[in-house]
């Protein structure tokens, strides 16, 4: 990736966010974002959106739901 235009950055953004780019390509995007507040905001907000989603996986299920799940398992395993 040699061009540093916003259009080029946006075209590679998904691969960048998913860690699929080479180090030099990542550096090109990061260098562009240092001087471009609009691209930097897009990257930051998409990262935060992804982060919010990923946090859900670590949020435990509501306790009554967990308790019912465990009770069903024990009923099944204990006949």
């Amino acid at each position: 990736m040699t061009s540093q235009s916003c259009h080029t950055i946006m075209a590679h953004l998904e691969a960048y966010l998913d860690g699929e780019l080479e180090a030099t390509e990542c550096q090109a995007i990061e260098a562009h974002c240092t001087g471009c507040t609009s691209c930097a905001a897009v990257v930051a907000e998409l990262r935060e959106t992804i982060g919010l989603c990923r946090q859900v996986a670590s949020v435990p299920l509501p306790e009554p739901v967990r308790a019912r799940a465990l009770e069903r398992v024990r009923r099944l395993l204990n006949g």
């Binding site: 998904e14 966010l17 905001a41 897009v42 930051a44 907000e45 998409l46 935060e48 959106t49 992804i50 919010l52 989603c53 990923r54 859900v56 996986a57 949020v59 299920l61 509501p62 739901v65 967990r66 019912r68 799940a69 465990l70 069903r72 398992v73 024990r74 099944l76 395993l77």
Partner: protein, 214 residues
């Protein structure tokens, strides 16, 4: 080579390996492993059912189905590495079947099979909210927060399924493609559009937190 074999040979995801290990232990008669696996299968069913389909009463039935099918499947499993993909396919199908039995009810979340145009990120017009719908939303809000629930709800069911499988459940693009029967390129396209739509929906809150970040 079978599709499931293709799925794990080139994809060294440690979470799937951990799942496979638990499946092997459960299949070998480890009661603790079986209990953890069966509770975990129900957790997957709950998250998928509530976040993709949005119905708490369905979630309990889908959990029950995931429990029984996992119990039967694990005792005769041939390919533990493919278990995770099998589980999500099973849960997704259970959700689809539940929705097909409820065709006459109003829906705040558009159900997964109602979808509309697969390339449109916006949902179809919503039905009138009823008391059960409000209770479902309150339950999801208490669990994951209003902001994220609203951002997910603003997506079409196809986009929501991809976001939930990829971002929340942590499956690979290849696994999501297998579960949803889409191409990997299509999964990536939907994920990108969904992220952009969610960012737009979350916009003011994200801008606020970016400003206040150290």
């Amino acid at each position: 080579m079978t599709k499931s074999a293709e799925l794990h040979l080139s994809d060294g995801d440690p979470r799937r390996a951990a799942y496979a290990s638990l499946v092997r232990e459960a299949a070998a008669g480890d009661a603790g492993a079986m209990e953890r696996l069966l509770v975990g299968a129900q957790e997957v069913a709950y998250r998928f059912s509530l976040l993709v389909c949005g119905h708490a009463e369905d979630a309990e039935d889908v959990m029950q189905e995931a429990l029984l099918k996992t119990y039967q499947h694990v005792r005769r499993i041939q390919d533990p590495e493919a278990f995770r993909t099998w589980l999500y396919k099973t849960v997704r199908n259970a959700c689809l079947m539940k929705r097909r039995r409820r065709v006459d009810e109003p829906a705040g979340y558009v159900s997964i099979e109602q979808g509309g145009d697969a390339d449109e990120g916006e949902p179809r017009a919503l039905g009138v909210a009823d008391t059960a719908r409000l209770a479902d939303q309150q339950m999801i809000d208490a669990w994951i927060g209003v902001r994220l629930r609203e951002a997910l709800q603003a997506l079409s069911p196809e986009y929501r399924a991809v976001v939930v499988l990829r971002e929340i459940e942590g499956l690979s693009t290849r696994e999501v493609a297998s579960i949803t029967r889409l191409s990997e390129a299509n999964v990536k396209t939907r994920l990108h559009r969904a992220r952009v739509l969610m960012r737009t929906r979350l916009g003011p809150a994200l801008a606020q937190s970016t400003k206040t970040a150290p």
